[in-house]
Each structure stands twice: as structure tokens, then as C-alpha cells.
């Protein structure tokens, strides 16, 4: 579903690349965690999948298509096949729950009757039935994130990208959100979730891809947040990489602030 072939992304020629020769494949229907410290390249990975940025070298395939070859007027079609959820929910404050979810369908021209049928169904999937008329500020953080998830999946994308979806939530609420994401994954949607939340990763026991300074240092099925197996061959390389930690703020670490502008 998502395939990276030797992908390198350089934001600034003088600094270390945000992604460095990453090759990775995530299959259809898989659930994968993307872990690593801030600035390790998680958000860059997600941006490349969405064609928000171009890879400096290498190729990114989404649903079998090389995204570099998608012309700009067909990018919307690519994005319709990908749902995105963020740490800060990004709901429209002046619209109620129903309207927030319906918005995603309106802007791609779905008919009113389809919207009327689909939105309550999706709200039920995320566990928000009966709260259609609530405004975002009347909801808890967990509920707001459920609305955001409903909006992301209402057009039935094949892929759901979640960028630290539980970053603002307490552990119990987070587990609830994970239940929703798991349910969506069971329905056949590929889920890629970037996270720092070790409890969740350890609880879920899904595939874990760990990035550090733009390099994949671990890729294990049904894994934990931190590796149980000491990686012999890579330890030296890790040391080298961490030795360069004093380098001035790297462009790779701007992700959270940069997303405001989208």
C-alpha cells in the first residue's frame, strides 16, 4: 500500500537529511507504528506519503502509484484515498460534530442524501452516536479526536495516517482512541500511526518501525516500543548519529509548528 524505495529527503543542504535512504513497505490492511524521537523523520515520512513534499531522491509509491509522477491536478485524488488525523484535532470550531464530518464529504461534491446516510454511520463507528449536534468546544479531547477520526475516514480512504493522535490525551482516553483505530484497521484500512506513546505501542503489539535521525533502525512485527533485542551491527552507527545531536535546530524538527500553515 505504501512503499518507500531508497527515499532521502533533504530540507536544507547544510543539515543532515530528514530521511536518509529509507526503504520500507507497508502492506494493505496493515497497522504500523512509526516511533522515534522528535526530529527522527516521522512527520516527513507522512508528508511524503501525502505529497506535501517531494522526496529529494528515491521513489514513494502509494497504492501502487509513484507519487512523484502524479500531476498536480490529480493530487486531490491521491489525498481522497488517504485520511489524516493530527494531535491537535483540527476541527472547525463554528461547526457542530455532524457538520465537521459532513464538511469532508461536501468539499468533494458528495450529494446531500449520501452525506445524510454516511455521517451517522461513521459517527457510530467512532462511538459518538447521539452527539451530532454538539459543538467541538462542548466535547472532551478524546471525543474531539473521535470526530477528527470520523472526518478522516468518512470518505473510506484505503490509508489512515495518524500523527501522534493521542499526544494530547490521557492514557485511558488514548486507549479508547486506539480501539477506534483498531476497529478501522479491522475494516481493511491500512493505518500508519506516528507516536511517542510507549504504553500504547506495548499494549497493541503491532508492527513497529523505529526511525532515528532519518534512518530506519528497527522494523519488527508485533513489537514493543523499545527493542528487546540488542542490535549488534547498528550500535556503532547509532552512536555516530547521536554524536551529531548538537547540530543547530534541524529542519526535520519543525513538523509540529509547520503544520499550522497547511
Amino acid at each position: 500500500m505504501i512503499r518507500f524505495e531508497n527515499v532521502t529527503k533533504v530540507y536544507d543542504q547544510t543539515a543532515r537529511p530528514a530521511l536518509d535512504d529509507v526503504s520500507l513497505e507497508i502492506d494493505r490492511g496493515e497497522f504500523a507504528f512509526l516511533v522515534g524521537a522528535s526530529g527522527s523523520g516521522k512527520s516527513t515520512f507522512l508528508r511524503l506519503v501525502l505529497k506535501e513534499d517531494r522526496a529529494s531522491s528515491g521513489a514513494v509509491y502509494v497504492a501502487g502509484q509513484n507519487v512523484a509522477k502524479i500531476s498536480s491536478w490529480r493530487v486531490p485524488r491521491l489525498r481522497r484515498g488517504i485520511g489524516v488525523v493530527f494531535q491537535d484535532f483540527r476541527l472547525l470550531p463554528q461547526k457542530n460534530v455532524f457538520a465537521n464530518v459532513a464538511f469532508a464529504m461536501q468539499v468533494i461534491g458528495k450529494s446531500r442524501s449520501v452525506i445524510r446516510d454516511t455521517v451517522p454511520e461513521v459517527l457510530k463507528t467512532v462511538g459518538l452516536e447521539g452527539k451530532e449536534r454538539r459543538m467541538p468546544h462542548e466535547l472532551s479531547g478524546g471525543e474531539q479526536q473521535r470526530v477528527a477520526i470520523a472526518r478522516a475516514v468518512v470518505n473510506r480512504p484505503g490509508i489512515l495516517l495518524a500523527d501522534e493522535p493521542t499526544g494530547n490525551l490521557d492514557p485511558t482516553t488514548s486507549m479508547g482512541i486506539m480501539g477506534v483505530l483498531d476497529k478501522i484497521n479491522q475494516n481493511g484500512t491500512t493505518v500508519v500511526m506516528a507516536t511517542h506513546d510507549d504504553d500504547i505501542v506495548n499494549e497493541m503489539r503491532k508492527r513497529v518501525v523505529e526511525l532515528k535521525h532519518g534512518v530506519v533502525i528497527r522494523d519488527e512485527a508485533r513489537a514493543l516500543y523499545t527493542s528487546m533485542i540488542p542490535v549488534v551491527g547498528q550500535s556503532r552507527r547509532l552512536k555516530d548519529a547521536s554524536g551529531r545531536d548538537e547540530t543547530p535546530p534541524r529542519p526535520g524538527s519543525h513538523e509540529d509548528a509547520g503544520e499550522e500553515q497547511r
Partner: protein, 304 residues
């Protein structure tokens, strides 16, 4: 659905930004009024030129009932006198200065008069008999007017010889200068309008960046995202253009029609209806200016 959605977006955009939208309307209104004023002056010049202005330079008016000129002592022009004049015009002495000439009968004079003064009440009180017949001469060299004048003024049956062009040319050059001034002011105002529209669209795009961000993420097309902004600018500019058209109509109706045409009954003024041919031009001009400037602004400030 999508149309309804886009219209809703436009509505909310206009509401959120009322003061800017009003200023866009006013600036386009003023600038297009100046453009229209220049257009009206040109229309007025055309109106005053009448039927003959572009075709001939010199008119030899023949005697009619009640003419008091020396050449008219024998009363209205007789067919023989008229024939003599025609022979004289054809004679080599005169013909070398003349490209060609035409005879305008009283009936033709009445018809042209009616066309030119169609907006004036004077047209009802004039009959063909009151208008002189005339020879209209197209000169090879308009400067040689004196020769024609000297040759014909003393001929029997000739009331007067007039160089119409000279009479009107001074007035027209003043009016052309005035329309040039109007166009210059309009140019400055249009630059103002373009910049103001660009700023308005920028603000509007900024205040709705949350929505547009989400629209991008869920895969809305470029058109759905940008069209509300562009139409916002276009609608404001078109409203301004409509106000400008209305103002020009009012000027033609109340100032020219009700006031000036009573002060100067022997001048042909344009009708209010004629100013309306300027309206589509103003609407298209206003709309396309706004469309282009918002499109360029969005290119820079709204990532799609």
C-alpha cells in the same frame, strides 16, 4: 451540492469580511465611474459629430424661406441657381480642391437632424421646410476652406458657407482632454482597487486557513478551494461596477437629459439609454480585474 457548498462559502466569506468588501465595492465603483465618464465623453463627441462630420468639412447652405442673407434676396433657392452651383462645383477651378460633394435635400436634412437630436425635445418642433438644403463638400485639403468660402458666399441662392469642422474641433479637443484626465484618474484608482482586492483576498484566505487546510487534506479540488475566494472578489467588484453604471445613467438622465439639454437646446446630447452600452464593458472590466488579481494573490497565499 458542490454549487450550494461554494455559494455558502462565498456568503460566509463576505460576511466575515464586510468592511473590506465594502471598501472594494467603493473603490471599484469610483474607478469604474471615471472609466465610464471617459466613455461617456467619447459617446457625446460622436453624438455631436452628427451625420456629416467624418465625411465632409464644408457645408454650403442654400437659401430657404425666411433667409436674410444677401445672396437670398430672390427668396428660396431656385432649381436653376442650384444647377448653377452644381456646375460651379464641377468646374476645374473648384474641382481641383474637392474630393467629392453631395447634395442634401430638405428631407434628408430633416432625417439626419432627427437622428442626431433624437433625445432632444426640439425635434418635435422642427419640420423639413425649416431646414435648408445644402451641398456637403469633402475637401482634398481642409485648409483650403477659404477658397470655397470666397467662391460661393456671393453666389445667388447661397445663404452661408460654414466650416463645421473648425467650429466643433475646439470643443472636441477640450472634451478629449477631459476624457484623458478621467482615464488617468481611473488608472490610478484601478491600481488601488487591484491592490485592495489582493489584500482582501489575502485576509480572507488567512482567516479561513483552517477550512482550506482541511479541504486540501480530504482531497478537495483546487477549484473548490479557490473558487469561493475568487468569486468573493469578483462579486464585490461587479457590485461596484453596477453602482458605477447606475451613476453614469443617473448623470445622463438628470444632468444631461433634464438640465443641460434645456440649457442648450441646439446641442445633441446622448440619451441615458446610450450610457447603458457602457455598463457591460464596466461589469466585465471590474469582474476580470478582480478575478485576475485574486487568482494571482491565491497563487501566493493559498497553497493547494
Amino acid at each position: 451540492m458542490r454549487l450550494a457548498f461554494i455559494l455558502g462559502e462565498i456568503g460566509s466569506g463576505l460576511r466575515r469580511n464586510v468592511s473590506m468588501v465594502v471598501s472594494v465595492i467603493l473603490v471599484t465603483f469610483v474607478s469604474l465611474t471615471f472609466v465610464g465618464a471617459a466613455g461617456m465623453l467619447q459617446l457625446q463627441i460622436n453624438q455631436m459629430k452628427g451625420y456629416w462630420y467624418d465625411k465632409v468639412q464644408v457645408a454650403i447652405f442654400l437659401c430657404s424661406d425666411g433667409s436674410t442673407a444677401a445672396g437670398c434676396a430672390t427668396g428660396p433657392v431656385t432649381p436653376e441657381q442650384q444647377e448653377n452651383l452644381k456646375t460651379l462645383l464641377d468646374s476645374p477651378a473648384v474641382a481641383q480642391y474637392v474630393n467629392d460633394f453631395q447634395f442634401e435635400s430638405k428631407e434628408e436634412a430633416y432625417k439626419h437632424f432627427k437622428d442626431q437630436f433624437s433625445n432632444s425635445p426640439i425635434v418635435d418642433s422642427v419640420t423639413p421646410d425649416q431646414l435648408p438644403s445644402s451641398f456637403r463638400i469633402n475637401m482634398k485639403d481642409p485648409e483650403k476652406y477659404q477658397i470655397i468660402s470666397e467662391t460661393f458666399s456671393s453666389q445667388p441662392g447661397v445663404e452661408t458657407v460654414i466650416d463645421q469642422r473648425q467650429l466643433l474641433e475646439r470643443l472636441f479637443s477640450a472634451m478629449n482632454a477631459a476624457s484623458l484626465v478621467a482615464v488617468s484618474i481611473a488608472g490610478v484608482m484601478i491600481i488601488c482597487a487591484i491592490l485592495l482586492i489582493a489584500t482582501t483576498i489575502r485576509l480572507s484566505a488567512f482567516s479561513r486557513r483552517r477550512e482550506t487546510g482541511i479541504m486540501r487534506l480530504v482531497g478537495a479540488s483546487k477549484m473548490v478551494i479557490q473558487l469561493p475566494f475568487i468569486l468573493e472578489g469578483v462579486i464585490a467588484a461587479v457590485v461596484g461596477a453596477a453602482l458605477a453604471s447606475g451613476t453614469l445613467w443617473a448623470v445622463a438622465h438628470f444632468f444631461l437629459g433634464e438640465y443641460l439639454s434645456k440649457q442648450y437646446p441646439d446641442t445633441a446630447f446622448i440619451s441615458p439609454g446610450q450610457t447603458l452600452i457602457l455598463a457591460p464593458a464596466l461589469l466585465i472590466l471590474g469582474g476580470s480585474l478582480a478575478g485576475i488579481s485574486s487568482l494571482l494573490t491565491l497563487r501566493r497565499y493559498l497553497k493547494v
